[in-house]
Amino acid sequence: MMALQSMTPAAMARGGAAAVAAPGWSRAGRLLLVCPLAIGLGLGAAGCASFALMAAGLGATTRGAVEAIILAATAVVGTALAVRREARAVDIERPATAAMLVWAAVGAGVWASINYVQVARGVPHGGWDAWMTWNMRARFLHRAAADTWTDAFTPLLPWTHPDYPPLLPTLVARGWAYVGHESFVVPIAVGGIFALAALGVVSGGLGRLRGSCQASLAALVLLSVPFFLRHAAAQYADVPLAFFIAAALVLATLDACAARSGGRLMVLAGVAAGLAAWTKNEGAVVLAALLGARVVLAERWDWERCGRPALAFVVGAMPFLALLAYFKLQIAPPNEVLAAQVSKPRELWYYSSGDMAGQLRELLGRVLNVERQLAVARSVKKEVLEFGFNGLFGAAALLGTYLICLGAHVPRAQRRPVAIAALTLGFTLAGYWVALVTAPGDLPRMLNSSVDRLLLQLWPAAVFLFFLVAAPPDEAAATGKGATHEA
């Protein structure tokens, strides 16, 4: 019961608020970070709890009652904690430039929200992958009887990727259960909430670490990629995954900047990374990358600087990884990519353990194949240059221009945390690269349909990292020319 209690949305909100609040942090800044974290992590944890209760055999009505009782109990405790914390917040005076950027970001956010609703109404069932995979599975979970919901993961429908983690379908099915019918507003709302939460967590984290100018600019840059909004409206799982990746990175960076790391922030980072793995298979790559980067770049390889943060991270991720392991071992069929590594393309569900050496040779052969490496490199280069194209220029050109104009500046105290964040993204890209190079089947077709979405998953986290490195406009103005300088 205590474990379930800590996984409810309200408990997540209180945990998040308590972990990130700090003296000298403005009320608005704290809310900008705490609210999206609470909503996003809360939704994720609630989805996991719902799946766990479903796997335990509880019907929809019973599940709803259990969640309502837990939410009511924790809401009372959480509100009391929030009121007490609120008294410690201070008002921070904002200079004119920052105020102007804040209003620009708010205006862009409102405009983007209106756009989102308009685009989403045109595709009420979402894009191809949404109705083929995520919403289709949500219909199985919502419509099936209490003892036949596992039909949603039948190996008879391999093209629906039944091994994919079921967070998004569970959330949509749960939403339909609450509203009483299969309203298309539910998946549209889920997509919009995660898109806004990604915006909020990146802005909030930058506001805490680098000030409101960077927070506002990050929001504007995030919204400068049309693909971000359209893909969220298409109800794919890439935008929710992008939120969890960004949240994990922001929380881990905040923890690394704290006087004593390895506390609640790192636990929450583990929660976010665990939920990333529960959203799509790529989330597991991010989880490993974040843990690896933190260990590799630890100040000292001792308990305080290395062991404690790693343990906190694992503790946060463990409940979701345990549930994921149960799902993969007991419910889902084998992953089609792994199963198809054998040279028997017609028998996707046959995985021979008797020819392990041959399979490893085949994998190694793909890694060492220069043509495949070049094909992936060309595709990644093309997508990076075209990413976020708005009719005149793309995101790479925008960020390059900004960096040239304002320069880079990382405060001395933040250099190690920023390096950890950069290495995390580097490890993640390397993991994605290996997955692309070793993928069986039609490589050009896979590259055409996947690379842009893989980049989108990392986009909010990349924007967070960029504005940790780029000099804020007020600092650039103070130096007079925006050149790199020491703090």
Binding site: P95, V119, L220, N390, G482
Partner: protein, 146 residues
């Protein structure tokens, strides 16, 4: 730390030209992107759902009350395209509409969904006999008993 410095600089309204160029690029990118989404995205047709998925759902949905709540049924259609994409799309849509019934792309099961949109299509060609018709080209087919 930077607040005191930025307060004095911003109060004078002086930002270097490079800073203004950088900020201007960000503002331009955001505005262009939002304009592109405002004018370039798919539009709702107003009252009623007229997107292709909703149209297919309206055609196939009556089958849900005919089929057993849990079953594996086949699927056949008269779709034809050079790359097979249209046939695959219509089959996937049928599965989406009819979940939690499992629809496989085959005529082997006892019950088969027939999805015909052209007048010349004849389900008897597949050795199957219609047992229910929706009047929109959607039929439920069965193997004749021997």
């Amino acid at each position: 730390m930077s607040g005191a410095v930025s307060g004095s600089v911003a109060a004078r309204g002086e930002l270097p030209w490079r800073t203004l160029v950088g900020l201007g690029a960000v503002a331009a990118a955001a505005i262009l992107s939002l304009l592109q989404t405002t004018h370039g995205g798919p539009r709702s047709a107003g009252a009623g759902l007229s997107d292709p998925v909703s149209v297919t759902e309206a055609r196939l949905a009556p089958l849900r009350s005919i089929l057993p709540p849990r079953a594996v049924v086949g699927y056949v259609s008269d779709a034809a395209s050079a790359d097979g994409r249209e046939e695959f799309r219509r089959y996937l849509l049928a599965q989406y509409v009819l979940a939690p019934v499992i629809v496989i792309d085959s005529t082997e099961p006892e019950l088969v969904i027939g999805d015909f949109t052209s007048a010349g299509s004849s389900p008897e060609v597949h050795g199957l006999q219609p047992v229910w018709g929706g009047g929109t080209g959607v039929v439920l087919l069965a193997r004749p008993t021997r």
